[in-house]
C-alpha cells in the first residue's frame, strides 16, 4: 500500500482533469492506499469556489470534492497565489484585499506552495491531473 498526493491543475469545467482526479482518488482509497493531500494549483484552484452553478443534470465538481473530503477526511488545499489572482478568496484574504465578498468553499483550505513540497516529502507518489 502506498501514500499518494494529487496535484490538480485542470480547469474544472473546461477539461476532464478534475473529474479524473476525483475518480482516481476514490479508486485508490477503495484499494486501501492512503491519500495524504490534494493540492490545487494553476487553473485547478477554480474548483474551490462555492459559487459554481452547473446545470442540475451535470456534476458539481466542488461538491464532489467536498463530499470526498468529508467522508474520507482528505485535505483539499489551494495555492494562495494561484487562487487569489483567479478570484478565489477566503474571508481573511477578502478583507485584506478590501474585496466585497469571499467565495472559498468550506471544504477547501488556502495555503502556500510549501504544502505541495511537504506533500511530496511525505508521499510515495504525486500524480498530476492537468
Amino acid at each position: 500500500m502506498a501514500t499518494f498526493s494529487l496535484l490538480v491543475t485542470a480547469n474544472p469545467y473546461s477539461s476532464q482533469g478534475q473529474f479524473s482526479a476525483i475518480q482516481f482518488a476514490k479508486t485508490l482509497l477503495e484499494q486501501g492506499h492512503q491519500l495524504m493531500r490534494v493540492f490545487f494549483y494553476a487553473d485547478g484552484v477554480l474548483v474551490a469556489s462555492r459559487l459554481h452553478a452547473p446545470p442540475a443534470d451535470e456534476i458539481n465538481l466542488t461538491k464532489a470534492w467536498a463530499k470526498l473530503a468529508i467522508e474520507k477526511d482528505i485535505e483539499l488545499v489551494a495555492c494562495v497565489t494561484a487562487a487569489n489572482k483567479r478570484g478565489i478568496v477566503n474571508a481573511a484574504e477578502a478583507e485584506r484585499n478590501a474585496l466585497t465578498g469571499d467565495n472559498l468553499d468550506p471544504a477547501f483550505a488556502i495555503s502556500g506552495l510549501g504544502q505541495l513540497t511537504e506533500a511530496m516529502l511525505e508521499s510515495d507518489r504525486l500524480i498530476t491531473f492537468g
Binding site: 491543475t9 494549483y41 502556500g112 506552495l113 510549501g114 513540497t117 511537504e118 511530496m120
Partner: protein
C-alpha cells in the same frame, strides 16, 4: 537523503503562466532542500531566451529568476539539444546560467527516470 524532483519546462513563456508557476514550485522545493533538476524541452527552451520584454504586454518578466536558479541551490539545469536545433537556437542566445548544460533527449529521459517526482504544467 531527501527525495529528488525533476521539473520539466515544455511550453514557451508568456502564452501561458506555465513557466512562471513551475518556477515557483522549483524555488519552494529548493527551500526544502530537495535535490532539483530543471529541464527545458520542446518549446520550453524559449523560456531561457535572452532579451525577453514581456513588460510591453503587461506580463511580469520571470527571466531573471532563471538566472538565479544556482543561488537557490538548483545546479542541475539541462536544455534539450534537439529542441535547440529544431528552433535554430544557439547556447549563446540563452540566459547565462551557471551550470547550464545541453543534453540529448536520451540523456534527459535518463534524468527523469532517476527522479522520485516529475512535475510539469
Amino acid at each position: 537523503m531527501n527525495k529528488s524532483i525533476c521539473i520539466v519546462f515544455n511550453k514557451a513563456p508568456y502564452g501561458s503562466q506555465s513557466g512562471r508557476e513551475l518556477l515557483d514550485i522549483a524555488l519552494m522545493a529548493a527551500a526544502f532542500d530537495m535535490p532539483i533538476t530543471a529541464i527545458f524541452i520542446d518549446q520550453g527552451v524559449y523560456q531561457l531566451l535572452k532579451g525577453q520584454e514581456p513588460d510591453i504586454l503587461h506580463i511580469k518578466n520571470h527571466s531573471a529568476t532563471f538566472k538565479a536558479l544556482p543561488l537557490y541551490g538548483i545546479e542541475e539545469v539541462y536544455v534539450e539539444q534537439q529542441a535547440m536545433q529544431q528552433f535554430k537556437l544557439d547556447i549563446h542566445q540563452l540566459l547565462e546560467i551557471d551550470g547550464l548544460q545541453q543534453a540529448t533527449t536520451d540523456g534527459i529521459r535518463a534524468k527523469i527516470a532517476q527522479s522520485d517526482f516529475v512535475l510539469t504544467l
